[in-house]
Symmetry: C2
Subunit: 286 residues, 2 copies
């Protein structure tokens, strides 16, 4: 597989990350994961905007324009012969680049920007989830960024796997529901939806934002709220969202069977239409 | 400068971190920072033991024996002509190595182990500190590991710098004092010492451990405790500890002048003797 690294398409066995890269040494960077279907990248603009906004907060300048990155993604798909693949995961990784020893960043960083591509398997029809031990740090600014440090999420996911669930749910440090190890979560309470508020140490996902807008369009009452564990365990149904799986229905949380599958399926269908429309628009522009 | 990477001494401009390295992509790894004085590495064994113990918790096997790593550190100092330098910072970085896309680690990881060296400037005689916004996540297992994700610490440090202090103090998510951005903290209350308990989301530093043992030896009453902000702002004096600075007296916290400098200086002198003794022992073994 080839990667795009700071303007060059390279074989991944030849591409070189500098051993002084602060992404490698300190987790000092950000990333985005996007879904490309037959060469069309869902919500590409929104992902690039979010990456640049996060970089702005961290003081990591974007070394390439959105237009340049958009072309780079297309080039990389072509170089990997993935332009006609049904599902490709594209990852943008932005780090502060190499720096001298120590915590403080160089005054004039030379950021690293990498794009990688991989076939993204068709997601399962549904998953199970369980509450894991690691918490999301609602009292850290980086919890609201798609920052490189994913070790807590990894530990949560491994704990869930070890106990037979597909994904891990994480509470925030105040005990409110935050997210899964790789996505946002929505709960059905009757025919109303609730999803953790941004204050709960969540990354406000792009799919999450699209689903909130869709629900409102469809007249579904939806709130962003502080959700305690009792409320999680009383919900009628639930689903996860992220850029690769879209809406992922949960059939069980902590072993308890969930329902509301029809409600989730209806929203899922609407989301799939939105994806098609987003890509159709991109095609019209092209 | 040269680095030691997976068994080879390489120029840092030639050494290559794989773009699929999970340390780079996810912060999936650990590190240690050690002080070498004229080729003698303080507490080398303790650092290697901690690195291996952390790897064990994360499921990252140590790809080299402690003996091998010890020799590698010495080789690297020699290759960089740093064997006679007064102060060199050595950093061991252990990651899970390259992996396929996604959060879950490969079943049989090929870890990356890198050692880098840099001249470590003589630390200032004292520093100032202030409380910063980002919190340590006491509810995450990784907060007690010297894990690669340091973005929160970086944000805290930058906030402190922007407001004119040398270092940032961090509370844990329950509001108890935890540590500074790069070290542990000790407070003087009269002639008694108190330092945050391990439950406060701290990395139990090797220098911290040495100082606790030293204080006990010297008949200083020392407790590991939950310390709220009021108690921090009422202390008589304070110092930070880490492997590079040893004991760093704080002259101000949040602008308030601190005392107890004589008490800190006495402990500092004892610590310096301990370092010399530790190195003398290593010399006897050699």
């Amino acid at each position: 597989m080839k990667v795009w690294l700071n303007g060059h398409v390279l074989d991944e066995h030849e591409a070189r990350i500098d051993p002084r890269d602060r992404g490698f040494l300190l987790g000092d960077g950000l990333f985005e994961t996007m879904l490309a279907r037959k060469g069309r990248i869902a919500f590409l603009d929104a992902h690039i905007v979010r990456l640049a906004a996060g970089g702005n907060i961290l003081g990591i300048p974007m070394p390439f324009s959105p237009q340049h990155l958009s072309v780079a993604c297309t080039m990389l798909l072509e170089a990997n012969k993935l332009s006609n693949s049904a599902r490709v995961a594209l990852r943008l990784t932005l780090t502060r680049g190499p720096g001298p020893r120590g915590l403080l960043p160089p005054e004039n960083p030379t950021p690293t920007l990498m794009i990688s591509a991989a076939i993204s398997p068709t997601p399962p029809l549904s998953q199970t989830a369980m509450l894991a031990t690691p918490r999301r740090n609602a009292l850290s600014p980086s919890s609201r960024l798609k920052a490189l440090p994913y070790l807590d999420n990894l530990l949560a996911r491994e704990e869930a796997h070890a106990r037979g669930a597909d994904d891990a749910l994480m509470l925030d440090t105040s005990g409110h529901l935050a997210c899964s190890s790789v996505g946002n979560i929505f709960l059905w309470e009757g025919e109303r939806l609730v999803t953790p508020a941004e204050e709960c140490g969540i990354l406000p996902g792009i799919t999450r934002g699209a689903v909130i807008a869709l629900a409102e369009q469809q007249g579904i009452e939806i709130t962003q709220d502080f959700i305690d564990v009792g409320r999680l365990h009383a919900c009628d149904g639930a689903f996860l969202t992220n850029s690769l799986v879209g809406l992922m229905p949960l059939t069980r949380i902590d072993g308890r069977e969930l329902g509301a599958m029809r409600l989730t399926a209806r929203l899922q269908a609407a989301y799939d239409m939105l994806l098609d429309a987003d890509e159709g628009e991109a095609e019209d522009e092209a």
